[in-house]
């Protein structure tokens, strides 16, 4: 049995890996596409950062007072901008010229600007952002100019409050809000926003990766069965002195192995892609997960692994059962499309909400879908509710055994050769 199984698995892996469609689509493409996307995004980000470093601002100083000079100095010193003083009586005179220059914005300080501020009144300031088609670099540069203007305004506000013998902090932020979290029944010093951001990054990553792995494996298992029919090799294989169950298990194992390689290729690609962004990574959140009990323990990882494995098996067995009814690889892939819906449903649902927050009927439907459970197990890893994961594993195992039994039954009978989903055509008579 073992010799035969090894022989089948080796053949399956060779056949799958050497199939250009699989090699290209499942292993090479993720390794190329994701890093390439990341490279493009990183390059544009670097270009944006570079353009923010070299901001030029035009100034039309119609005031010539002390505050106008202060503002110009602030732009130079704090913003590190190149300030170009424009000799004009208004924006209309230079607008055309500015459009064709490299200026990010033009600040017009009208006459009386300093006088109004000295008198403790509101002063008017006009800021013209130069629109050249938008984009991250352009909007980032304008935001940088705005933030320096806000800094200047804040300094003036604080100075006015000090002049009126008031504490600027007490006036500007009269309530000191301190946001903390309760985790697993224990109060911690961590801001809930930080934890939510962390959880989001985990919850998005897990269901996405799990779904990807399952889809890959299903496609492989289905190709493996359907190509035997398409290439007319199935009859010879079934007449060999080896049990049909061994053939089934061999096909499942071959698919799991190649899917795992594909998943690793995809994850490597995605990690590089995600790492290309300079924002939103968990590394920027200074939280020690172990200290607050949110780091998954060995049991958590083990449960997730088992949950993932049994779900994967159920997906493969389902794919095999479905593929038996197809006449060729294309037909099998079409039939497989029906299985993608139950795969997407739990991912979408669990991405936005907790399963317990859903109506009972929806919850039952989701829990009946085996692919929901590894996603719940991934969440249980963080929350420590291991019972959810164990219950899920038990359910999916029973489900998988039932589907495997059905697959084995089909493999053991002539149905594997004769079963077809009728699409309106009559089956030709056998010779």
């Amino acid at each position: 049995m073992l010799k035969g199984l090894r022989n089948i698995v080796t053949k399956e892996v060779k056949e799958l890996v050497r199939d250009p469609r699989i090699l290209l689509g499942i292993i090479i493409a993720p390794l190329l596409i994701f890093p390439l996307m990341g490279f493009m995004i990183r390059t544009s980000q670097e270009a944006a950062v570079e353009s923010i470093r070299n901001i030029s601002v035009g100034v039309i100083d119609l005031d010539q007072g002390v505050f106008a000079q202060n503002l110009t100095d602030t732009l130079r010193l704090y913003g590190n901008f190149r300030v170009e003083e424009l000799a004009a009586s208004g924006i209309d005179e230079v607008a055309g010229e500015v459009q064709n220059s490299n200026l990010t914005a033009v600040i017009v300080m009208p006459s009386g600007f300093s006088q109004n501020l000295t008198n403790g009144e509101r002063a008017e300031l006009k800021v013209y952002g130069v629109f050249r088609g938008g984009g991250v670099a352009e909007s980032g540069a304008f935001a940088a100019v705005n933030s320096v203007l806000q800094l200047f305004e804040e300094t003036l506000t604080k100075q006015r409050l000090l002049d009126a013998s008031l504490d600027p902090a007490a006036v500007l932020e009269p309530i000191d809000v301190s946001a903390r979290s309760i985790v697993r029944g224990e109060p911690t010093n961590i801001n809930p926003d930080t934890l939510f951001a962390l959880a989001m990054s985990q919850f998005f990553g897990f269901p996405f990766s799990i779904m990807l792995l399952i889809i890959l494996a299903m496609q492989l298992a289905s190709t493996s069965v359907a190509s035997e029919k398409e290439e007319k090799t199935l009859e010879t294989l079934l007449s060999l002195p080896i049990s049909r169950f061994t053939i089934l298990v061999g096909k499942l194992m071959g698919s799991v192995i190649v899917a795992a390689v594909g998943a690793v290729a995809t994850i490597v690609g995605v990690v590089y892609y995600v790492g290309s962004f300079s924002f939103g990574t968990t590394a920027q959140i200074p939280v020690d997960l172990t200290q607050i009990g949110l780091s998954p323990g060995l049991l958590g990882y083990a449960l997730l692994g088992v949950s993932l494995f049994v779900s994967l098996l159920s997906a493969l067995a389902l794919a095999v059962v479905v593929s038996v009814f197809a006449e060729d690889v294309r037909g099998a892939q079409s039939l497989l499309g029906f299985l993608y819906l139950p795969l997407f449903l739990p991912m979408l649902a669990l991405l936005f909400t907790d399963i317990n927050a859903l109506p009972l009927a929806v919850r039952i439907v989701l829990l009946a879908i085996p692919f929901t459970h590894p996603m719940l197990a991934a969440r249980a890893m963080l929350t420590g509710e291991y019972f959810t994961a164990i219950w899920g594993i038990a359910y999916v195992s029973i489900f998988t055994l039932a589907v495997l039994y059905a697959a084995a039954r089909i493999f053991a009978t002539e149905k594997i050769l004769t079963a077809k989903i009728s699409l309106g055509k009559k089956r030709p008579r056998e010779d």
Binding site: K232, L238, E430
Partner: protein, 243 residues
């Protein structure tokens, strides 16, 4: 006495279509038995039942005493089956394909090497066995598959249209190999063909099938004498009511 194949009142229905209608015949060990008849006569269905791929609706088939339904795994150890339109794994090389198939019946690596060596001679593919199957012509693929079916010297080789897709020279070569394996290795061959002239030269005994029934059986010489015909084609035309 145990026959290589014993088929008794075999019936197979696919819904309303009757593919086999009470087929009965015996094949002696170490002989070549040919099932001949036009397309749709029931030849492939008979061979598929004997090869344990499909079950009969009623009746029985035995291979060296083993019932093909209740003792399917025992039967599979004794046979090799070559389907008419069979393919080979296109991403494996010819040699890898033979090794994959050979491993199920070989006792050791030496045994496997001998099998592959034999297959190389039968197929005449030589160095081309290193190439992937997808680069083979239809004829080369067929030669590879015939070689696969004979290389492990099975007790019974079930060959559905063995020379289908081969040119005259290669068909002649394959027929010679089949005869040699029966003579030298004691292999029993049950084959089907709609080429009655080919069967006449190859088979020790033939059964003419039409519409799921055997309409005549005997040695080619007996049949020709009985029906006063010069070849099996004429015999078939007479028994099928065409002449």
């Amino acid at each position: 006495m145990v026959h290589a194949v014993e088929v008794d009142r075999l019936e197979k229905r696919f819904k309303e279509i009757v593919a086999l209608d009470g087929l009965t015949f015996r094949v002696e060990e170490g002989t070549i038995f040919g099932l001949i008849g036009p397309n749709g006569a029931g030849k492939t269905t008979t061979l598929r039942i004997i090869s344990t791929l499909i079950s009969p609706t009623s009746g029985s088939a035995r291979v060296f005493g083993h019932d093909v339904v209740t003792e399917a795994s025992e039967t599979r150890k004794l046979i090799t089956y070559l389907p008419e339109d069979a393919g080979a794994y296109k991403n494996l090389s010819g040699r890898e394909y033979l090794q994959f198939m050979g491993r199920f019946g070989s006792q050791s690596e030496k045994d496997l090497d001998d099998m592959v060596e034999d297959a190389s001679k039968i197929s005449g593919l030589g160095e081309r066995l290193r190439d992937k199957v997808k680069t083979y012509s239809k004829g080369m693929k067929r030669r590879l598959l015939v070689a696969r079916a004979l290389m492990n010297k099975p007790k019974l080789a079930v060959l559905d249209e063995p020379t289908s897709g081969l040119d005259v020279l290669h068909a002649y070569h394959v027929r010679g190999i089949i005869k040699q394996y029966v003579k030298d290795e004691g292999v029993t061959v049950l084959l089907s063909s709609h080429n009655m002239l080919e069967v006449e030269h190859l088979c020790d005994r033939v059964a003419l099938i039409n519409k799921g029934k055997i309409v005549a059986e005997g040695t080619p010489a007996e049949l020709k004498t009985k029906h006063k015909a010069t070849n099996l084609e004429e015999v078939f035309a007479q028994v099928a009511g065409l002449a």
